[in-house]
């Protein structure tokens, strides 16, 4: 039997578990026959929800029997590739593999909640390749051994082109399970129409002059990082005491009436129309909004530092096409491809050479408007941060599931009131 049925429970209950797994309807009908709803509830209470960790698999064992299928299903965040899916077309031309691209990742936790039970059952989740941000859900996926270990002999382009900051990240040492897709900075954005001074510091988010016009993120990790940085603590080295102090600091900010609301991802519109004057923000969103809507929003990396997050490519262990998936991973590290991707998404590419390529394209482009846009992008610090700026960027706190609960509770007490 597999790992799951060895669970924690005594033998009489394990029987209940196995019936439940064979088919829910049968078991429900049986319990119902046994004597109505009360009995059913009791029978259920014998179940609990099973532990779902799998045994890790060695790289060679995982890849030993895997073959290319010619069909790849990929889940990504919305608007994370141009609507024509240029890179996918190029991939199909290069390899012959057909790609079914789905913008199904809207929120990491709900996405995790959706795939987790299927992965626990060893079922196909409908994707062979997916993109998730470093954070709690990624840690959980790794902890549960739900990701295929990457065979780096199949990733020569990654070895060749990935930037230093994108190898060996603290959340996935040695890129055992993931390679970056794109990165972004969580910093401060403000609308100069309403804010008539230079914003340089995290303390500006606490400034009573902006009462009711400050936006903060609802995501516990994002907001925790800002609380920690405001207290002068490096998130990755933080202790429990630091978290408590950071939560207090954030609570004080909220209670002073500065914060308008805690936003999921929909802060751009209020920032544009003046409901928000200054807010936590993601670099690429601001760049894109300025580029497409002609706004003049400003983005700054505060003096105290900001955070660098990374959206990562990964393969669920139940993938039906892991070989095609890892080929796609490798393909996205071809500098030309990476540059094309960056041109649309405006987030930081893990391939530093993309900058040169964008500049080259700008030089040889006849269409003046596009050339200008390309040049602007290649020079933008939001898309290609300088070495100095990288020094100010921090990683998230990496936590095991058990610690996550405490951490979440602490900061949700601030954002969910």
């Amino acid at each position: 039997m597999n790992h799951r049925s060895r669970a924690h429970l005594d033998p009489a209950l394990v029987r209940g578990l196995t019936t439940a797994r064979r088919g829910p309807l049968i078991s429900r009908r049986r319990t119902l026959r046994a004597g109505g709803a009360a009995a059913a509830a009791l029978a259920l209470s014998a179940c609990g929800v099973q532990g779902q960790r799998r045994e890790p698999v060695a790289v060679e064992d995982y890849w030993a029997d895997k073959e290319r299928t010619g069909r790849l299903r990929w889940a990504n965040w919305p608007l994370y590739m141009d609507p024509e899916h240029t890179q996918i077309t190029q991939f199909t031309e290069a390899t012959g593999t057909e790609v079914e691209y789905k913008e199904d990742v809207h929120e990491a936790p709900t996405f995790f909640g959706q795939i987790q039970p299927q992965l626990a059952n060893g079922d196909d989740i409908g994707y062979d390749l997916m993109v998730l941000t470093n954070g709690f859900q990624l840690s959980k996926l790794m902890e549960l051994s739900y990701l295929a270990p990457l065979d780096h002999t199949r990733l020569p382009a990654f070895a060749e082109s990935a930037g230093e900051s994108y190898r060996n990240a603290s959340y996935d040492p040695g890129n055992e399970y993931t390679v970056p897709y794109a990165s972004g900075i969580t910093g401060i954005a403000y609308n100069p129409e309403f804010v008539d001074r230079q914003i340089t510091s995290l303390q500006d988010l606490w400034d009573p002059a902006f009462a009711g016009k400050v936006g903060m993120f609802a995501d516990v990790q994002e907001i925790a990082n800002f609380g920690l940085l405001a207290n002068g603590v490096t998130p990755a080295d933080s202790t429990k005491e630091d978290w408590e102090a950071a939560a207090d600091r954030l609570r004080e900010q909220r209670d002073s009436g500065v914060v308008r609301s805690y936003y999921e991802q929909d802060y751009i519109q209020p920032l544009t129309n003046g409901d928000l004057w200054i807010t936590m923000a993601w670099s690429g969103d601001i760049y894109q909004q300025n580029a497409t809507a002609g706004t003049d929003l400003r983005f700054v990396i505060p003096d105290e530092g900001a955070t660098l997050w990374t959206d990562n490519l990964m393969i669920p262990y139940t993938s039906k096409a892991p070989v095609d998936a890892i080929e796609m991973m490798n393909f996205l590290y071809e500098p030309e491809i990476a540059a094309g991707l960056t041109e649309y998404i405006a987030y930081i590419s893990p391939v530093p050479r993309a900058k040169e390529i964008l500049t080259d394209w700008a030089g040889s482009e006849d269409d003046g408007e596009r050339a200008e846009a390309l040049r602007e992008m290649a020079e933008s610090h939001l898309v290609f941060p300088t070495e100095e700026e990288y020094q100010k960027l921090h990683n998230y706190v990496t936590l095991e599931t058990a610690e996550q609960e405490e951490f979440s509770a602490l900061f949700q007490a601030v954002t969910q009131s």
Binding site: L44, S45, C47, P109, T110, Q116, L144, S261, N273
Partner: protein, 284 residues
């Protein structure tokens, strides 16, 4: 005839089975889940941990009370908005009664989520509505409505007001017109005619309307997410976060149970005060 006796059972059986399997049993399932401990990685074991309820209540009593308060306010707004409308349609709608009713229901062909999101557009600080009113000096410059309690309450009332109008209308419409006539002859002033005759007759409709608005509004989370701000989290938001974001199922199930318990106590004391039959009759 034997056939005659079994007919009703044959008729109700499919619905019974469905409601038992997917309504009654799940409530039991949730009860059992609320008494487990663990996390997604280790699994959740049935430990009959009653402490989950203590944790749930002590962490979230504020959100629970706030939800009941917002639900109550929204219900009052619904009565204030809905009663006169129901009254007018029932007594003065004339030929066009059904047209008016359809007009009231028509906006609900558009998705609930989309309608709620639209309010952001109207309520934003410099938006079409507030911005204009501020420009002509009708509202103070610094006024904010979006991301505040009034915005959430208005959103809730907006989304559920038909559930107030319809039951009140149903009762008023059934009233004998002669009775209204007689009331007006009996009492010289209209207010007394209203309070002494019409209002008492219409109360069951109001009670049903209160049930149909108070329960869904106090357990809603969409309005608080879309229109609320830093202090407007409702218990629905908490339940959603615990289930879908934190995957902390035992706490999530405990809060849900507490909420359900509170609403049940409310419903039953309400039903007792008014007589169960009456409430269920109109409601049904």
């Amino acid at each position: 005839m034997n056939n005659r006796k079994t007919t009703p059972y044959a008729l109700v059986l499919p619905a019974w089975v469905w409601l038992a399997l997917f309504f009654v049993v799940p409530i039991g399932g949730m009860l059992s889940l609320s008494l487990t401990t663990g996390n997604v990685v280790t699994g959740f074991q049935q430990t009959f941990e009653v402490g989950n309820y203590a944790t749930a209540v002590s962490s979230y009593w504020e959100q629970i009370l706030r939800s009941l308060f917002y639900g109550g306010c929204a219900t009052l707004v619904c009565i204030a908005v809905g009663y006169p409308v129901a009254y007018w349609i029932a007594f003065r709608g004339g030929e066009n009664k059904s047209t008016y009713l359809l007009l009231i229901l028509l906006p609900f062909f558009v998705s609930f989520v989309l309608r709620t999101i639209s309010w952001r557009f109207f309520l934003s600080d410099n938006g079409m509505l507030l911005g204009t009113l501020k420009d002509i000096g009708l509202l103070p410059e610094g006024l904010t409505v979006l991301n505040s309690a009034p915005a959430v309450i208005l959103g809730l009332a907006y989304n559920f007001v038909p559930f107030m109008i319809l039951p009140i209308y149903a009762v008023l419409e059934r009233m004998d017109p002669h009775m209204v006539e007689a009331a007006h002859d009996l009492y010289s002033d209209r207010i007394r005619a209203f309070t002494k005759v019409i209002l008492p007759v219409s109360l069951p409709g109001v009670f049903a309307g209160v049930l149909m608005t108070f329960i869904p509004t106090s357990a809603d989370y969409v309005n608080a997410s879309v229109l609320g701000g830093a202090y407007n989290t409702m218990v629905g938001n908490v339940i959603r976060t615990e289930y879908l974001v934190n995957n902390d199922y035992p706490i999530a199930a405990s809060i849900t149970f507490v909420l359900m318990g509170l609403l049940l106590i409310g419903i039953f004391s309400y039903a007792r005060a008014l007589g169960t039959e009456k409430v269920m009759e109109v409601h049904a």
